[in-house]
């Protein structure tokens, strides 16, 4: 079954400052993954790890420095030159802040009708109303509730549903949700998350779910990629990546999530770095500065990808020859 989306060695550099002081930061560094049809794929990591930049590259809002994005077999749905902004056909997006998704000075339904008109779905009004009403029902709303009102008159959850309905109108094959529920009230968060599952099962839509909240990712996603400072450090099925994390960073991340259970409180304390941007410019493995199991090789070069029982890990700990060759006793095994 070939992939819906193939990302190969994607890289994106950003340059800051004027022509004299070029400070270059690699936000996305050699990222490769596939997304299968009807699959929810999580891109997880802390802020500044490159997950949102990766999403903007897939959507076509940013031009990759190198690497390829192949969507349903054709190379990045060649963007139309006249359009200042390319966007890949069949890919839509849901944004983090529901109140920023729609122009506060325009009625929300304008976006729905414009999507219908611009995608040439139908010309006459009544058919458009019916189509929009149908799509809104799919997300649990009705056209009467929505028409004639401004974004400030809805709750965050309702706006997020309307945004999903709008993107479904174009019958997309891939939906990119950038932290869709982080700004939505906790009590109705699950209704939105369940909606993504419903889209996958009923409409066969794939979703790239971008988040820093691993608990929700565990609940709704099939596969997950953990990102750190532009690198995918661990990728695989959500069950074994989150329940038996391999990469030291994934372990640290997994342990640091405060679980809603008083019995599972943190035991030991964690050491924090206070110079973040140094980590971007570091030569070898970007996590070397904080990794409890750091070795000299980690500081020198970037670890390649190893496959350990179905999970891709970028860490020298899983490099068989290196490990057997050095026989370093002081490297504790992962029994604990």
């Amino acid at each position: 079954m070939d992939a819906l989306l193939e990302i190969r060695n994607l890289r994106k550099d950003f340059a800051f400052g004027s022509l004299l002081s070029r400070l270059r930061i690699t936000a996305v560094d050699d990222v490769s993954f596939d997304v299968m049809p009807a699959e929810i794929f999580a891109l997880a990591g802390e802020s500044g790890c490159g997950k949102t930049t990766t999403a903007r590259l897939i959507l076509g809002f940013e031009e990759p420095t190198s690497g390829s994005i192949r969507h349903k077999g054709d190379e990045n749905g060649r963007p139309k030159k006249r359009e200042k902004v390319w966007f890949t056909q069949g890919v839509q997006a849901i944004f983090q802040n529901p109140f920023e998704t729609f122009n506060p000075l325009r009625r929300v339904e304008r976006y729905l009708f414009e999507t219908v008109r611009n995608y040439g779905l139908t010309k006459n009004g009544t058919k458009a109303d019916k189509l929009i009403d149908e799509m809104l029902k799919a997300v649990g709303l009705r056209l009467e509730e929505v028409s004639g009102r401004y974004p400030s008159e809805f709750s965050g959850g309702q706006l997020q549903r309307i945004s999903i309905a709008r993107s479904l109108l174009t019958n997309p094959s891939l939906l990119i949700a950038d932290e869709p529920v982080s700004m939505v009230d906790a009590s109705i968060r699950m209704s939105i998350v369940n909606l993504f599952r419903q889209l996958r099962d009923e409409l066969g839509v794939s979703v790239i779910y971008i988040t820093h909240d691993l608990a929700t990712a565990y609940y709704v996603c099939d596969r997950i990629a953990i990102m750190f400072r532009g690198h995918v450090v661990e990728m695989g099925g959500v069950e074994n990546v989150l329940m038996a994390p391999k990469h030291p960073y994934t372990k640290l991340l997994r342990e640091s999530i405060p679980e809603a259970d008083p019995k599972k409180r943190w035991k030991e304390s964690v050491s924090l770095t206070d110079i973040e941007h140094e980590e971007y410019l570091r030569k070898g493995c970007r996590f070397a500065g904080r990794c409890p199991k750091v070795m000299d090789v980690c500081r020198e070069n970037v670890p390649p990808e190893f496959t350990v029982d179905g999970v891709l890990v970028k860490c020298f700990l899983y490099d068989e020859e290196l490990m057997t060759q050095t026989k370093r006793s002081e490297v504790p095994d992962d029994a604990e």
Partner: protein, 335 residues
Amino acid sequence: MAFVKRYLIPRLISFVLVIFLGVTAVFFIPRFTPSDPVQRTIAQLQSQGSYLDPGSMDSMIEDLREMYGLEGSMLQQYGAFWRRVFTGDFGVSFFQFPTPVIELIRTSLPWTAGLLLWATLLSWTLGNLIGGLAGYFSRNRWSRALDTVAMIIRPMPYYIFALMLLILFAYVVRLFPIAGGTDIGRRAALSWAFVSDVLRHAFLPALSMVVLGTAITFQTMKLIVQNVNAEDFVQYAKLGGVKERRIVSRYVIRNAMLPQITNLALALGQILSGALITEIVFSYPGLGTLLFNAIVTGDYNLIMGITAMSILAITTAILVIDLVYPLFDPRVRLM
């Protein structure tokens, strides 16, 4: 380090570019406009009835062209013009014939400088002080009253306000002289008589500039202080029980002054043009009146001289302010 590259060098580049652009504009404007300055001067001479026999007409045109630096190809003229700007020799003034332009500027510069410097300094400090307090205590009656007064004064251009003062104090109340820099026939001397006479004459123009400048600075500062007052670090200091005197001085005023420094740089252009016009209204013997006479008599060299010098002066002042700013703002200094 980053500060030099990202803040200092771009500022220096733009300083040089702006001067280049300004001087080039001053050079090209008379040459591109439809009427030729030489013909205009001759037409003006004829309109004043002085008889010009045709024979001497050609040599007259020759002299005028030479005086206005109009010989040679456009490039040579351009080069000559730059030499003038750098050496400060803008050729000879046409109507006060033998005296070079730079001499005229040098005599009237102190008058303008005195008026301009005092008015700007006074209005800037006064405006910031009252504006700051009004902004911090924006709830009470006094700051609202002051705000309405500022709202009335601020929109008026310099000369309208100057005219109003002139009518009120020089005519209705007859407290101050209507025009001039000193009483007629007063010789410049370091005596108190001379100084008091100068002050009496300079009072109304200075007053109009100070009052208007203060109104403008007051309003901008009040707005900035109100914004800074709502900033998190001021609210947090209040929550922390920091003494009010310390909050006002080290938190509010200290942060509010930063945008005011850049505002001063931006306003310099307006303040100069305001001063020039005010001088004309009061016929105060500064650069403004000099410019006015130059325009009336169509004295090109003098006009070019004053314009070029003003551009140099303002751009330099702005550069100085830009260089001073990082001393007050660590976020720029330690980029």
